[in-house]
């Protein structure tokens, strides 16, 4: 018994289905004699076999074009595999196209009703759950307004409000949660966790490895249509990250002279250099000087595309302790749901940390900019930016939190019986 099973599934889109068909196209493309060429099939998925048990959670990772969308469609029971066999639980819901069916002229309430019916509810069921959907979406009086007056965030909230009212046995999600404000994202994640605890199986495709790690037990890694790895989340994500490091190293041009900040390619600077990180500065008490335990810290940098603008790059900043290399923090724009833009040519970035309770010592900061699917780094400055912290020595701990000691008066010297 399983909720989703792929048995040796291959999927190719026929050559002639790439553009809208017309009579002329049919004759030239469908009849190979006329077009004079018979191109081999391009497989979007190759020989995928997997099985998801009820209550299981499967993350799907892979670069753009790895076949994730094709996989999700088949997993939703949409379309036919070219070879092999797909079995999907009949009670499956997707959010592959969240909100795309909204009618802009109609009100939020009317659209929610449509979405609920389209997702499989009868009118009676939909009307019963309508208040909870609208409540979840937090639209207040806007439910009576036409959707064309909504912001993107409001549309998303309305769409997810409908999904939240469903209780499918299998829920298929395609990184919809990457958008929206943080508080609402949290609410959606809570609802997904609730569904999962209630026995709903989950298939989640995402570029955000953090999201996969917190939500999924199993991970499938698709690479150019192949199932490169499947297994428990820790091992597959680690394998994926290692591959990213390798890909980064392979793409790093052979180094030349030492540049700004003592950076040298293949030594402490890695990445394809299609986009670079420039003018990195740490702002403490004084520029470049030491900070004290509990001080705020700001880090600024400029990212700059070499030629073409880059799609949705991810900026990462991490800090390690000198010596044992213990990781103090490892922050990324992706994990925080912060988007630099769909296409970025250049941007000045500032990371502000309100207080940093580090023990005295020496630290070094890494900064990097990554491809949208973590495929490889564009530019990564490794252990390049030193940071000295002055203040109390923290023992062997990583933190010196703001603290005080005291003795509680009552109950301490009660005599023993």
């Amino acid at each position: 018994m399983s909720v989703l099973r792929f048995e040796g599934v291959w999927k190719a889109y026929p050559d002639w289905s790439r553009q809208p068909r017309t009579l002329r196209g049919i004759f030239t493309r469908r009849v190979p004699v006329l077009s004079g060429s018979k191109r081999p099939k391009r497989w979007a998925l190759r020989d995928i076999t997997l099985d998801l048990a009820p209550g299981g959670t499967l993350g799907v990772i892979g670069h753009n074009g790895a076949g994730k969308s094709t996989f999700l469609r088949l997993a939703a029971g949409l379309g036919r595999p070219t070879r092999g066999h797909v079995a999907v639980h009949p009670d499956t819901a997707t959010v592959l196209n969240l909100g795309s069916s909204f009618d802009m002229q109609l009100t939020g309430q009317e659209n929610a009703l449509t979405a609920a019916l389209v997702a499989g509810m009868t009118r009676q069921e939909a009307l019963k759950r309508l208040p909870s959907m609208l409540d979840f979406a937090e639209l207040d009086e806007f439910v009576e307004y036409p959707v064309r007056t909504y912001s993107e965030g409001m549309k998303l909230r309305l769409a997810f409000g409908v999904v939240a009212a469903l209780q499918p046995r299998l829920l298929i999600l395609d990184e919809v949660l990457a958008v929206g404000d943080l508080a609402f994202r949290q609410k959606c994640e809570d609802r997904i966790a609730e569904l999962r605890d209630g026995g709903t199986s989950l298939v989640l495709a995402s570029h955000a490895l953090e999201e996969i790690t917190t939500t999924c037990e199993q991970v499938a890694w698709l690479h150019r249509g192949d199932l490169r790895a499947i297994g428990d989340v820790e091992s597959v994500v680690e394998e994926y990250e290692n591959a990213s490091i390798e890909a980064t190293y392979e793409r790093t041009p052979v180094g030349s002279a030492r540049g700004e900040n003592g950076l040298r390619l293949r030594e402490n600077r890695f990445g394809s250099q299609e986009m670079t990180v420039e003018a990195v500065a740490i702002h403490g008490r004084s520029p470049g000087g030491p900070i004290r335990t509990g001080d705020p810290l700001r880090i600024s940098a400029t990212i700059l595309a070499k030629d073409d603008a880059i799609n949705d790059p991810i900026v990462v900043v991490s800090l390690r302790r000198a010596g044992d290399q213990a990781v103090i923090f490892d922050l990324s724009t992706r994990a925080d749901g912060f988007t630099l833009g769909r296409t970025v040519h250049s941007a000045d970035i500032m990371l502000s940390i309100d207080r940093l309770d580090l023990p005295a010592g020496d630290y070094a900061m890494d900064i990097g900019v990554f491809e949208a699917a973590w495929e490889h780094a564009y530019d990564y400055h490794w252990q390049t930016y030193p940071l000295r912290v002055e203040g109390p020595v923290g023992g062997s701990g990583l933190l010196v939190p703001e603290h005080r000691w005291s003795i509680e008066e009552s109950g301490l010297d009660r005599p023993a019986e």
Partner: protein
């Protein structure tokens, strides 16, 4: 109606398959809702709202009446009512077929939903212009009454309309599915409808046509529908047996072919959209 053909219920967890009665309920709810939604969306923010479809038909009626009772005289009694009865039949069919051709391709966001019964889309395409019929019927009935032609046989109109609904749905299933694979279908439909308008006795009667050309009109099943509607409304007698035979026969054929083609092509829709 299977929601997804790639789903193998025999091998999958069959026990939790939704019961068919619930699916039918859902399909009916969905069609009604989408029709309501489309009508609401079409008429929102317009001053005349619901009156627009009727206005369109009356304008066309006015042109035809002026042309054929003042310019080219056809000598048919109560000509406006005569034309209107035929026009309603044809306009419905025309609007339904054009909408059906686009119904699946322009609603990809619905089709890519695992629980959405795609068959709802061509049905909606037929049902939405049916609303125009419902708006025009009272006007037609008043005109008939004024002309003193409204009789008992008008009670046969609802079943005739039901049969036309089924016939149109059958053709709509075919065009909606075919257009997914071959986008020329939407253009072919428009051209064929243009020819069909003149091949249907709307602004003239079968009697006005020389007998050697009757087969041309008979090749068009809509002729039987127009004749039957006129018989019960305008002429006050039962429809001719030949018309009844043609309209039932073509409805059965259209539904059988439409359903078979739609079921056959439907699993591939998502890959084409």
């Amino acid at each position: 109606m299977t929601v997804s053909s790639s789903m193998d219920i025999a091998k999958g967890p069959a026990a939790l398959t939704p019961v068919p009665r619930r699916s039918r309920r859902h399909l009916a709810d969905l069609v009604l809702h989408l029709v309501r939604r489309e009508l609401a969306s079409a008429h929102r923010n317009t001053l005349l709202g619901w009156a627009w479809p009727l206005t369109r038909q009356l304008a066309q009626l006015a042109v035809l009446v002026f042309l054929f009772s003042h310019v080219l005289r056809l000598h048919i009694q109560d000509y406006p009512v005569f034309v209107f009865a035929g026009l309603i039949v044809f306009t419905w069919f025309q609007a339904a077929l054009i909408a059906s051709a686009y119904s699946v391709v322009s609603n990809a966001h619905f089709v890519t939903n695992p629980k959405f019964p795609t068959i709802a889309l061509p049905l909606v395409a037929v049902a939405v212009p049916f609303f125009d019929v419902l708006m025009a019927l009272p006007v037609l009935l008043v005109l008939l009454a004024v002309a003193g032609r409204l009789g008992d046989t008008a009670l046969l109109l609802p079943p005739l309309i039901a049969v036309q609904f089924a016939f149109t749905a059958g053709v709509a299933l075919l065009t909606s599915a075919a257009n997914v694979y071959l986008r020329d279908v939407q253009n072919v439909v428009v051209v064929l409808l243009l020819l069909l308008f003149y091949m249907t006795p709307i602004f003239y009667g079968l009697k006005n046509v020389p007998p050697q050309f009757h087969w041309v009109l008979r090749a068009n099943p809509l002729t039987a529908f127009v004749n039957a509607d006129r018989a019960v409304l305008f002429e006050g007698h039962l429809p001719a047996a030949v018309d009844l035979a043609i309209l039932t026969g073509s409805t059965i054929v259209a539904l059988a072919i439409g359903l078979a083609v739609f079921r056959r092509l439907q699993p591939g829709f998502v890959d084409e959209l």
